[in-house]
């Protein structure tokens, strides 16, 4: 454990514009870094209740550098903010951040991601050099938030949305796309068959390459899919090399306030990264270039 850490604001190249972040280094860093990939609306890299900042400090105390960054169009990063989808997540931003870490001499990477941040990292995994481990909290299973809501919504949900339809809204391509996705999700009969489960495909990819994974399942839009495909998800995580794990945290976190949930998530992620480091002693030996 180290108790002296340094914070440094950074700007680096993204695909279309520059990206911003804060690099947090321990007193004696190695060439392993944690990349914190978060999604949650338009939050800058500190996040709600400064969660990502608190998390970065904990990793630095563990002796590992951590980068938290703003997605394109968010916080201090340039470019346009885009709402990610299951097919088109923010993978390019994750790759840009990983490339920046590589340029800084961090050749081994552990990703800690939430929701579409986790999904973007899983999507980007083939392009993340030196990826050793991944913590994925509440990732989507097979669709984005809108489709997941629509698929499991009851009649009153649909009636409320139909009531709000205005001709001007139908002219907005973004809204039209979301409406189409919602209707397709509800109408799709795939729930009764084994569908193409994107999350499991990604987990299998990581398992084949020997990348350690901790999967955390909470509440929210993707909960019905976690329950629906519980067996498939568990079987997929079982194929991941140890240390690996699956934690269904929905009951454990019920009734806790947001900061307590965040503290729990930070502790679990830090413990997992600590386990991965213990499993690969070589990761703790080499200083960055």
């Amino acid at each position: 454990m180290t108790n002296a850490i340094t914070e440094q604001p950074v700007l680096f190249d993204g695909l279309e514009s520059h990206m911003a972040g804060v690099l947090c280094r321990p007193a004696e860093p190695t060439d392993t870094a944690v990349l914190i990939c978060w999604r949650g609306g338009s939050f800058p890299s500190s996040d709600k209740n400064r969660m990502r900042r608190r998390m970065a400090h904990e990793f630095a105390r563990l002796g590992v550098a951590a980068l938290r960054f703003d997605l394109s169009g968010v916080g201090e990063s340039g470019g346009e903010e885009v709402t990610p989808t299951i097919e088109n997540p923010d993978a390019r931003d994750v790759v840009s951040a990983a490339e920046f870490l590589h340029e800084q001499g961090f050749h081994n990477l552990i990703v800690v991601g939430n929701c579409f941040g986790a999904w973007s990292a899983m999507h980007a995994a083939p392009r993340l050099g030196g990826l050793v481990g991944l913590v994925a909290a509440n990732p989507p299973v097979r669709s984005d938030h809108m489709a997941a809501q629509a698929r499991d919504a009851d009649l009153s949900w649909w009636l409320e949305r139909i009531r709000k339809i205005r001709p001007s809204k139908l002219l907005d391509p973004g809204r039209l796309h979301r409406a189409r996705v919602s209707v397709q999700a509800k109408a799709s009969p795939v729930a009764s068959r084994r569908p193409n489960i994107a999350l499991i495909e990604r987990l299998d990819y990581l398992a084949e390459r020997g990348i350690h994974v901790l999967l955390l399942l909470g509440t929210g839009d993707f909960r019905p899919d976690y329950d629906r495909f519980a067996e498939e998800i568990a079987a997929s995580v079982a194929r991941v090399p140890k240390p690996a794990g699956l934690i269904d945290a929905s009951e454990r976190l019920t009734g806790l306030d947001t900061v307590s949930v965040q503290d729990w998530l930070i502790r679990v992620a830090v413990d997992f990264v600590s386990e991965v480091l213990a499993h690969h002693p070589e990761l703790r030996l080499t200083p960055p270039d």
């Binding site: 850490i5 914070e7 604001p9 700007l11 911003a20 709600k48 105390r61 169009g73």
Partner: protein
Amino acid sequence: MENMEKAGGALSVSVFASEEPAVRLDPVTGHQHVLRLFPVASGHVYASAMVPAEAKAGAVVCSSVGADLLANYGRERALAHELADAGIASVRFHYRGDGNSSGRQDELTFTGMLADAHAMREWLASICDAPSVTWVGTRIGGLVAAASAQNDDSLVLWEPIDDLSWYIRGGTRARQMSSMTTDPGPSEDRPMGWREELESRGFLDLLGFRLGQPLLDSLEGITISGSPPVVARVLVVSFASRRSQAAQVAAALSEARMPVDWHETALRETWWFHDQNVIPFGDLITTTAAWIKGQEVADR
């Protein structure tokens, strides 16, 4: 620079701030984007400057806290770009105890916010030597901007909050609405009032945003209408929300013989509820930047 903090658990860590700023020159616009950890008395302030090639004037943007920060961050960044296009440099920042700045959450107080704003005014002075600046305050940041602006400065207030109770009521009401859709059923317990909750827990959790007692205590009794700033001119921007204190603030400033301009943007904003969708800007940015540029031209 050293700043002792608790990191998650009980142990303290020393957080050092790198003195090295991150700088990027935009090849198209020629604007310089600078990110730095600006040294202040007890730590550092995460600050961002957007500087045009030849800055003729400057603006300091004072953000709000909690959910408002999420709603307005992109808008404030867009304003910085728009101002730079007009030859006006601007600085934005995270208050100490919040965002990427140093300090524990209980260090986030109105006094600290004012001190941070003052530090940003000093940084702006080193970037552009205009004798007066425009202070932009958004929501609770309006209290900071109004208290910081003086004499020949101009003041822009986006949907200003005039008193803390009103702001908290909005948050607790939103929380009640949210709980109606998520709670399994009516509770036997009487819901706590916000002061009671603050007393018992030491903080308010408003839809996942924790507001600490030191901040709320320090904001008690602070209003714009109670002690209107003496400045050159004010623009009050009201959002299309049914509940707003913007008109009250504008009326109080007019009564204090401040020249006040009023703009009502068509942007609808609930302030407390944000989903995954991209937040719109409407005419907010162009109108605000044009007004600030107009003040700068008038000054010359």
